[in-house]
Assembly symmetry: C2
Homo-oligomer: 450 residues x 2
């Protein structure tokens, strides 16, 4: 029943495009769901995609434009005149239209806006372009349904019928007063089952009306919608006047991006890349963290070279350098990841930094104690009791330091409004490498009396 | 306007509970949004939380029960009789009720179900308990609105009014035939603006009806809902009969959990832990990866000990061991993270494994070339041209290997239906550590003629 994109389908489609077999395309592509058409276009070369795109009706074109891969979209757009772009824009929801415009150079934006035939649409887009894309204002759309609290149900239905043309998904009707200030909301369900002459004022819900201000950050909007289990949220200005709404689909993207960003940071990738991106883009996204790692390695080499005499006397000391650095890195990443995740979730907001460090110290002491005992035995077998003591004691110390730093650094970054996820991944491992080597070799030199 | 939970509020509340100041609690807590009450309860000790919970009305109790911290919920439940639990259950949506039951021992579940007064509710819960919690059947709820395609609009409205009592959020009305097979859907918007005698058959949408089967995995349900931008999706059995629906709020949790699980894997945490969990739980969640790291370190030590003679002659070789292992780890984690993310997103599904390895090799060659040139200069300064050549050549080789393994391993795991995220984090770093040391010291021994 549902469409599944296969390699075979793509091959048949490409040959249909080459032979300009319009009836096949009409029957097998144009009837599909917008989301499936988007997937197909993303898999085609620009020329084929462009051919297919131009064959779709205007409404579908508008619906899928913002879901296409950015590269493909920009290629498609280049073949359009400003007039054509303006026509496409009018098919979009205002938030998508504004997102689209924000990808274009300023002069082009002005030209396009002057070509939009519907004044209200143009105004909405110009208004939305004023907001920072990472705020509620940047996420909201101008299409929503509102009624005046003083109206009766039947007048509402007449008004809503008009508004419904431009609003794709309704969810909730917002109730405002004469000054357009948000008073509360009304579910379609309630409206559907109400008597025609009931006043909206007697019907709408005014308790616990959740809204966000235009300037609120996207992440906070996402948290609010998640917390209150909302599928749409009204956006108000500083005077509590209703100016837009945000729907759950846009917020799901924010939630996913946020979670993926943390994963990327922890993995040492500095841009949002995918495995089908260009080699140059991949190279660029990975280089910064590798350079940090390289610098850390050079510092490490510097530290070890300070102990050159010791190592040439007891070469066995070198055996456990990678173990110490790896364990410091692992503990550090674990600790910072727990902090980053708890910060992202907004849980555990009332503990002080000192309490958290205290707790992490206890966990590190426990992990460290078990691992130190195991490694004592192993190092003993390698080189006898002195090396056993040195490796075991160093490992314990390094785990303790790594745990405390791993907890402290993201907490400090967060306190000073820097993304705490920066502290995970290559950064914390590199720091712990250098520190670990220093602690290990110092203890080694002391115990071996070098 | 919106409530914000502060330390001060909690202190006042706790003293109000101690002084049994019911009027303050009624005014300042009971009037709040369910989600805020949940947050407050989560911050209280069990005795205080229990006092407050019992003071709430039944409906609120039901609404918040499944949103409370699991520990708190279990503590609260212990003070209830089976009869009381059954009463609470009847307040819940069927999916929440089933989730709740699945946390309890089997005998207790049977007892509770026998105490539920509404037969239909009991049946729904028993039915839902049959499904694997990680499938569409485990996510779905029995509360949804359905109409028969043969009815006119006015009959529908009468029927829907009945159904609406049990359905909190409507979103979409499902249209079925006489055999209860899903035919399509009808938006409330369309119903609201239709004439009373119009037949549903002329009104509903039967093109591109997206549904999921009960046995489909949660992750796939989430992908489908995301792709088609749905706020709710109908669930059908193998005969295409409508059996339930899944709403976006439950799927947002799946999406978040999935993204967080990848982050946890990459960070070497084996359970879903938060910074306010117990020390014992944290210790347990971190130990497995640390043991893997320790074993890797011991293997590394073994490898280095095989080159003991070489290191005692040229101790400078030891200087760059941490650099080589760190860089191998970084490149490996980057590569595997890109693969894991692309697999999770379902992008780039048509490239073969060989193509992906080929591309990764090119990226690794580029990154490796730049970094090797830099490190040649640095190692030259430390110990002259031979060490420069050894470090630079080893780094290049290790980056290449780490890139290829980092790409290959998650792809292979995925091919054999194992979670590819297992390949990120401590696993890939440990593997690359051992491999890197071996490559580096082998090249070192060869070039220094040891």
């Amino acid at each position: 029943m549902q469409f599944e994109l296969t390699k075979e389908f793509l091959e048949i489609l490409i040959s249909a495009i080459e032979r300009e077999n319009l009836s096949w395309i009409k029957e097998n592509v144009c009837e599909l769901h917008d989301a499936d058409i988007t997937d197909i276009l993303d898999e085609l070369e620009t020329a084929e995609a462009s051919y297919l795109y131009n064959f779709l009706d205007e409404e579908t074109q508008g619906d899928i434009l913002m879901d296409l891969d950015e590269d493909l979209r920009q290629n498609l757009i280049q073949s359009f005149s400003t007039k054509e772009i303006a026509e496409q824009i009018e098919q979009l929801d205002s938030d998508d239209a504004a997102d689209f415009m924000s990808e274009l150079p300023k002069e082009q934006v002005e030209e396009i806006i002057s070509q939009i035939s519907n004044d209200e649409t143009a105004e909405d887009i110009v208004d939305l372009l004023n907001y920072d894309p990472d705020t509620a204002g940047g996420l909201m759309q101008k299409e929503f349904m509102q009624v005046n609290a003083n109206w009766p149900v039947n007048r509402c239905i007449v008004q809503l019928r008009k508004q419904a043309e431009s609003v794709e998904k309704i969810f909730t009707i917002y109730v405002v007063d004469e000054q357009n200030k948000l008073l509360g909301f009304l579910s379609l369900k309630r409206l559907l089952f109400a008597k025609p002459d009931t006043a909206i004022a007697d019907l709408y819900q005014d308790k616990n009306v959740i809204s966000v201000k235009t300037g609120e950050e996207s992440e906070d909007v996402a948290k609010t919608m998640e917390k209150y289990d909302l599928v749409s949220i009204p956006v108000v200005d500083l005077q509590n006047k209703l100016v837009g709404r945000i729907t759950i689909d846009d917020v799901v993207d924010v939630i996913k991006d946020e979670a993926e960003k943390d994963f990327q940071m922890a993995s040492g990738i500095s841009e949002n890349i995918e495995s089908d991106d260009s080699i140059w883009k991949m190279f660029r996204a990975r280089m910064p963290w590798l350079l940090i790692g390289l610098m850390g390695g050079v510092f490490g080499a510097q530290v070890i070279s300070g102990f050159e005499g010791g190592i040439s006397e007891v070469p066995a000391l070198a055996f456990f350098i990678p173990l110490i650095t790896a364990m410091g890195g692992n503990v550090g990443v674990q600790s910072s990841a727990i902090v980053v995740q708890s910060l992202a979730r907004g849980t555990d907001q009332f503990g002080s930094i000192l309490q958290k460090i205290g707790k992490e110290t206890l966990v590190a002491l426990a992990n460290g104690a078990v691992l130190s005992i195991i490694i004592y035995g192993i190092a003993y077998i390698f080189e006898g009791p002195t090396l056993g003591t040195v490796v075991s004691l160093s490992l314990f110390t390094v785990i303790l330091f790594a745990g405390v730093f791993g907890t402290l650094i993201p907490l400090l970054l967060d306190k000073y409004k820097i993304d705490p996820a920066l502290a995970t991944g290559p950064f914390i491992t590199t720091l712990n490498d250098v520190l670990g080597i220093f602690i290990y070799l110092t203890i080694g030199v002391l115990f071996f009396g070098l």
